[in-house]
Amino acid sequence: MPSPPAPVSDRVNHNFSFQWAEINRAATLFVLLLASSFILGMIERINSSPWPEAVVSGVNALIVLGFAGLRHKEIVALLGVPRIAWRNAIELTLLSLALLALMSIYFALIEYLGVPMLRAASEFQKARWGLGAMVVLVSLMPAVVEEMAFRGVIQSSLEHVFDWREAWIIQAALFSVLHLLPMMFPSHFVIGLGLGYLRHRSKSLYPGMVLHASWNALVLFQELS
């Protein structure tokens, strides 16, 4: 059984070079994910097929796996069974449901106000891809990859430089801006905070992956219906 990560206060190393390397690691992962979003965006200007998105998702997964490998001890520890009492698990489940409800209200409101919304499944539907493919590419894969990236690699790296609160806020901010749409910065920042809090309390990435995938699935099925 992998040992749990050291308490945050013990992990903050005051050496400049060490902390600079940790910031660089988090920044490099962020820049690579941003670069892949840029490439996908440019391809989608001329090609509306879902294949580029599928390929880029795969490349992102490999990139994140690579960075997770550099930090494998901490990531493996976060992929263990959540270490949480039943009472706290119920509390976090209720918090997750509240977060889902809040986000649903937010997006319903902005759609009501006439804000054009990007449809995650539109390209897949036009290309007649099956439901299974859409669930994997729109719901599951982004949830797993983004949790590994932000709550795994980035938050772990940042916790070597900052206390857990600052690391928590920064990873949520990076998560929100990487979705590229300023209209979604507030909502995705709150989602990032919620997912980061789940990771902090449960010492595991699984609760966040479940919540994240659930949210993505909710969006997908709302579009399909």
């Binding site: 400049f16 600079w20 920044a27 941003l34 054009p116 990487l178 300023p182």
Partner: protein, 267 residues
């Protein structure tokens, strides 16, 4: 730009950098001839009372004021700030070059810390500038797009809302009604997006007073995302304002480095 170093009670060095990078180096109110310039890296060496050797260097910094350093017998001197330096422990006023507080003995920041603080302050200024830029450009673009939108809407006025617009726009076919909604929405969309960005940068500028490293990191990430998003929407924007983009990124990057150096030095 004026910088003063009070070496001791009887020795003061002043550096003035004026227009066209003209410099004046003054020791105890007497000008010292020199070849200093703010256009390139330069230095001047001179003698202080008591036989001490002084060296003043100027390094131009892209996008901000030049970095000036005074060394006396190899030791970096702290410039005299506008507000008195106070001890972080007891709050009593200390002299710029004191290593320890004269009252409580608490260690004072090293001279290098003041260089790092300059980078942090420059980064915070850049964040404020971005906030202002997004706010102003949001309003200007809104006004321009409203005007253009009105022209476009007047051309669509006579068409049946349910009919298909004859030409696809950006590869998408619209009904006339949908096109009218899109045109009416666009100026508001641009305004809201820019206001959101202005608010984000303002929050980061305030947060930067308490947590400069965290705020500057997020500001740099946000700015990078804005540049990339603009590039996706309009690839021609990649080549626009390159100098400003480089300047902002450099200022924020140095701010991160400076903030981290201050943080690890005080840990």
């Amino acid at each position: 730009m004026k910088t003063k170093w009070e070496i001791d009670e009887s020795t003061a060095v002043d550096l003035k950098i004026g227009g066209f990078a003209k410099t004046e180096l003054i020791l105890n109110n007497k000008e010292i001839p020199n070849h200093l310039t703010a256009r390139r890296k330069s230095e001047a060496t001179f003698e202080l009372p008591g036989g001490r050797h002084a060296k003043l260097t100027i390094e131009p910094q892209f996008g901000t004021s030049p970095l000036t350093k005074l060394y006396v017998d190899g030791q970096l001197m702290v410039p005299t700030p506008k507000n008195p330096i106070t001890c972080g422990s007891c709050g009593s006023i200390a002299k710029p070059n004191d290593r320890f507080c004269g009252k409580c003995g608490h260690a004072m920041p090293s001279p290098e810390s003041y260089v790092h603080e300059k980078y942090v302050n420059d980064a915070t200024t850049a964040i404020w500038m971005l906030s202002g830029l997004f706010f102003v450009s949001g309003i200007i673009l809104f006004v321009i797009m409203q005007s253009q939108g009105s022209d476009a809407l007047s051309k669509l006025a006579g068409l049946d809302p349910n009919s298909q617009f004859p030409h696809p726009i950006n590869g998408v076919n619209y009904t006339v009604a949908a096109l009218r909604s899109q045109i009416a929405w666009e100026p508001w969309g641009v305004l809201i997006v820019n206001l959101i960005l202005a608010i984000v940068m303002t929050i980061l500028a305030f947060w930067g007073k308490r947590a400069p490293l965290a705020a500057t990191l997020v500001a740099l990430a946000t700015y990078a995302v804005v540049v990339v998003t603009n590039a996706i929407i309009s690839p021609a924007s990649i080549g626009q304002g390159v100098v400003i983009k480089i300047m902002v990124v450099l200022l924020l990057y140095r701010g991160i480095s400076g903030a981290l150096a201050l943080r690890t030095a005080s840990a």
